[in-house]
């Protein structure tokens, strides 16, 4: 084969790549993501206005309910289909986080409860937890220092 540089080849295969359908994908993500958030808001409103729970507790309950629904949908094999359709629309909300924990837990059940399920359960969500905790700690520290400085 005639000599070809890596750069030359890259231009060739990038040219051939099927074009990403940005508008279509963004619209789907927007609609499904928006729908999940609207359902969450609905649950929140019901908890506050009908069940009479205070707002801080209600938002925690809302998260729990959404995570529960997503876990059930993952177990039934529905959430991955939603994900294939909606992309980031169903990955970004808290339901996506639930899906990323439940799916490896199910997948690695065959390797046993210790070396499979429990060892692999955070294989996808792990980085989110690690960096989530790290950044929230840093933000907390900054906020604390800011308050001390203000008080002076």
């Amino acid at each position: 084969m005639k000599k070809m540089s890596k750069e030359e080849y890259k231009t060739l295969y990038e040219q051939k790549k099927p074009k990403a359908k940005l508008f279509r994908n963004c619209s789907k993500a927007f609609l499904v993501g928006g729908l999940i958030c609207t359902i969450g808001q609905g649950i929140n409103d019901i908890l506050v206005k009908i069940a009479g729970i205070n707002e801080i507790d209600a938002s925690a309950y809302t998260s729990i309910i959404l995570v529960f629904i997503a876990a059930i949908l993952t177990g039934l094999g529905v959430y991955d289909d939603i994900g294939k359709f909606a992309g980031a629309g169903s990955v970004v909300p808290i339901t996506g986080f639930a899906n990323s924990v439940i799916s490896p837990a199910m997948e690695f059940k065959k390797e046993g409860l210790v070396f499979g399920t429990s060892a692999k359960i955070f294989v996808i969500a792990g980085p989110v937890i690690v960096y989530g905790l790290m950044t929230s700690t840093i933000c907390g520290l900054i906020y604390y220092i800011y308050r001390v400085v203000i008080a002076l």
């Binding site: 890596k6 295969y13 099927p18 994900g83 294939k84 996506g96 065959k110 996808i124």
Partner: protein, 334 residues
């Protein structure tokens, strides 16, 4: 065995492919080749506890059917698959009680196995059985993400074929099909710096191009000599790149070329992205569709170029690019 040119070997004996057997899962049976497969499992777990066991069951079924229908005890069994330490093939061999070699060049394993088996027969063995297999769900959990994780993959990604293909090579033409392996071209590794693990078509196309050009040069033939030039699993996107790469080398195979990854699924209707891939892709398509065409004398000369992307999850996470290889063999009807 005569060495021709740089990497090609022509056989002096007649090495017959006397029988093949293909086993696939339900999704492959919804594709355009559904009437050609020998056996279809309607459940991709095959009634087993895990996808790994299901893949072994498919691989074993293909091998046992070959042995059963041919009343033969091959001198060697050579095979490969995609799972770590090629467990599917080793566990198949555990049940067969035959001398065993395991080969691995990912999706090009079928080509490597055919080449090794042909050399064995040329060197004095009487018969050899080969098989390769892959399973969408076992490959997915090893290479990618859990099955139930809701993520999108790009349009140029590929779908691993669930299935196994086995072939019997022999010095005696048991079924008088007259299908012989004429020559083989052992592939070299091509690596053009592709690091995207979803982009196997781009990673493998240069390897296929290199093996095809080398085979043409070594044998002093051109594309018009063949009825078909079949690549393993470049799928629609990779095939497109292959045609352009060969055009740049003044070779036109557009009329002869087809790709097993693009053939096995209806790429528009079956949500398989760019097409099929996996060690079972070339194996099932060759052992069913193309073998039948050869048996019926619809085609007479075939250049087979299974392609393999030799990455692992470790190498790709460490930022390594994807090396690829294509092992070519020429099949003719006598």
């Amino acid at each position: 065995m005569i060495k021709k040119g740089k990497q090609t070997y022509q056989f002096e004996k007649d090495i017959f492919i006397t029988d093949t057997y293909s086993v696939v899962g339900p999704k492959e049976n919804e594709g355009p080749l559904k009437n050609y497969f020998h056996k279809v499992f309607s459940d991709d777990l095959c009634g087993k506890n895990s996808y790994e066991c299901a893949e072994q069951h498919m691989s074993l079924t293909a091998a046992q059917e070959i042995l059963k229908t041919n009343y033969i005890n091959p001198d060697i069994y050579i095979g490969g698959d995609l799972l770590n330490q090629i467990i599917t093939t080793a566990f198949t061999a555990r049940q067969l009680n035959l001398p065993y070699w395991g080969v691995y060049t990912a999706c090009a394993s079928f080509g490597e196995a055919i080449q090794a088996a042909s050399i064995c027969i040329e060197s004095g063995m009487n018969s050899a059985m080969i098989s390769t297999s892959s399973h969408f769900s076992s490959a997915e959990r090893q290479y990618r993400t859990p099955l139930e994780l809701g993520v999108q993959r790009p349009d140029w990604a590929q779908w691993t074929v669930t299935g196994a293909g086995a072939a019997l090579l022999s010095t005696n033409d048991l079924d008088s099909n007259g299908i012989v392996i004429k020559s083989i071209t052992v592939g070299k590794i091509s690596d053009y710096g592709v690091t995207d693990v979803d982009n196997m078509g781009a990673a493998m196309a240069p390897a296929a191009a290199d093996s095809i050009i080398t085979h043409f040069e070594d044998n002093n033939v051109d594309s018009s000599y063949f009825d078909y030039i079949i690549t393993g699993d470049l799928a629609t996107y990779g095939s497109d790149i292959l045609i352009s790469l060969l055009n740049k080398n003044n070779i036109d195979i557009k009329n002869q070329h087809c790709d097993c990854g693009a053939l096995i699924y209806d790429t528009k209707a079956q949500h398989v992205y760019s097409g099929g891939s996996g060690a079972g892709c070339f194996a099932t398509v060759f052992c069913s569709y193309f073998y039948k065409l050869l048996c019926n004398r619809k085609i007479k000369r075939l250049l087979c170029v299974p392609t393999g992307a030799l990455l692992s999850t470790t190498s790709s996470q460490q930022g390594e690019s994807i090396p690829a290889v294509a092992h070519a063999f020429c099949v003719e009807v006598k």
